[in-house]
């Protein structure tokens, strides 16, 4: 069986935007513009509309996020339980990598 963090990496070039979207939605439901604003504040990255909706479509297909009823033309999304699990595992993995990297830097 695949680990959750591997599943996120399966998204290929969308794995990083997908991770940023999951992190953004961990705070609460957001629509596209709110996500791009939040991601820019958190990571300094400006996701283009094509990249953002490419990642959203893939996350929704995997049922890691789900759409809420549309507010006029904007549709908010929220993190699902499965998406929460994927994000948790990915962050734990990144934490382990960071710890190793820091210890190597300290040794050098």
């Amino acid at each position: 069986m695949k680990r959750h963090d591997d599943e996120l990496l399966d998204l290929g070039r969308f794995s990083e935007p997908a991770l940023l979207i999951l992190i953004s939605l961990a705070e609460g439901p957001k629509h596209g513009y709110a996500m791009t604003q939040d991601i820019e504040v958190v990571s300094g990255q400006k996701l283009g509309p094509g990249t953002l909706y490419g990642a959203i479509a893939r996350l929704e297909a995997r049922k890691w996020i789900e759409p809420l009823p549309a507010e006029e033309r904007r549709r908010p999304y929220k993190l699902t339980v499965a998406g929460h699990g994927v994000l948790k595992h990915r962050l734990a993995n990144l934490k382990a990598v960071t710890r190793i990297a820091q210890s190597r830097l300290a040794d050098a």
């Binding site: 629509h31 596209g32 509309p49 094509g50």
Partner: protein
């Protein structure tokens, strides 16, 4: 062009099913963020990726079949023929192979260039050898593309060399005699379509023959098994 119109046109590049689901909210996002050159490229690039995704993840085997058996080979043929055009152009300029023209009783008689003409046969022969080899090994075109690296390289070489020499032949005739009166782009197009046609014919005819051979083998085995079956049969051969 107003950015709203440009946004609508760019979003129209996406597959229909994708637009039905995301068009409205994506246009709303573009309204909020604005559309500069970087975002325009991002939207257009995203459309290309969605088309690829639509085909790759399509439940319809027809879409996959169209891409893998028609579009992909056509794109490959165009690419190989283009490389062939470049090499053939170089050969035509640097390797002297004059086509001889006689005028006999007012008629123009052309002797086609010998060397490119002979070498042009090399490509199809090599293609035939590759196919014969993989068919002998079985399983090449049986139920999938089980092509090894060696076969793929040989196949590419066969197509490439065939394309070079055929175009060289045409270009020598063209430069020396004006017959056929063609531009390099026409020679390239002819080569690409010819590569695609011959490859498709070879692939499907080989597949047809391989399937036919396999069916006959299965029929023979079934008949043999029936003969050796211990089940008693009635007068009409029914069990």
């Amino acid at each position: 062009m107003p950015s709203e119109t440009l946004a609508r046109r760019l979003v129209r590049l996406y597959p229909r099913r994708w637009r039905e689901r995301y068009e409205t909210e994506m246009l709303a996002l573009i309204d909020d963020t604005g559309l500069d050159a970087r975002r325009s490229f991002d939207v257009a690039w995203g459309a290309g990726r969605e088309w690829v995704r639509t085909v790759v993840e399509a439940p319809s085997p027809v879409a996959v079949w169209i891409v893998w058996m028609l579009v992909f080979p056509a794109a490959l043929a165009c690419g190989i023929a283009f490389l062939g055009t470049l090499v053939a152009q170089w050969l035509t300029i640097h390797v002297p192979t004059p086509a001889i023209v006689w005028l006999e009783d007012g008629h123009k008689v052309v002797a086609p260039p010998q060397l490119p003409g002979r070498l042009a046969a090399f490509g199809p022969i090599l293609q035939f050898v590759v196919i014969a080899r993989v068919v002998a090994a079985r399983g090449f075109f049986q139920g999938g593309w089980k092509v090894g690296r060696a076969e793929a390289v040989l196949w590419f070489l066969a197509l490439f060399t065939g394309s070079i020499f055929r175009q060289w032949f045409d270009m020598v005739l063209w430069y020396e005699t004006g017959i056929p009166s063609q531009a390099a782009s026409e020679i390239w197009f002819y080569s690409a379509s010819s590569l695609w046609n011959s490859s498709m014919f070879l692939i499907y005819s080989t597949r047809f023959v391989a399937n036919h051979v396999e069916q006959r083998r299965l029929s023979r085995e079934a008949a043999k098994a029936a003969r050796h079956s211990s089940v008693p049969r009635g007068p009409l051969g029914l069990a």
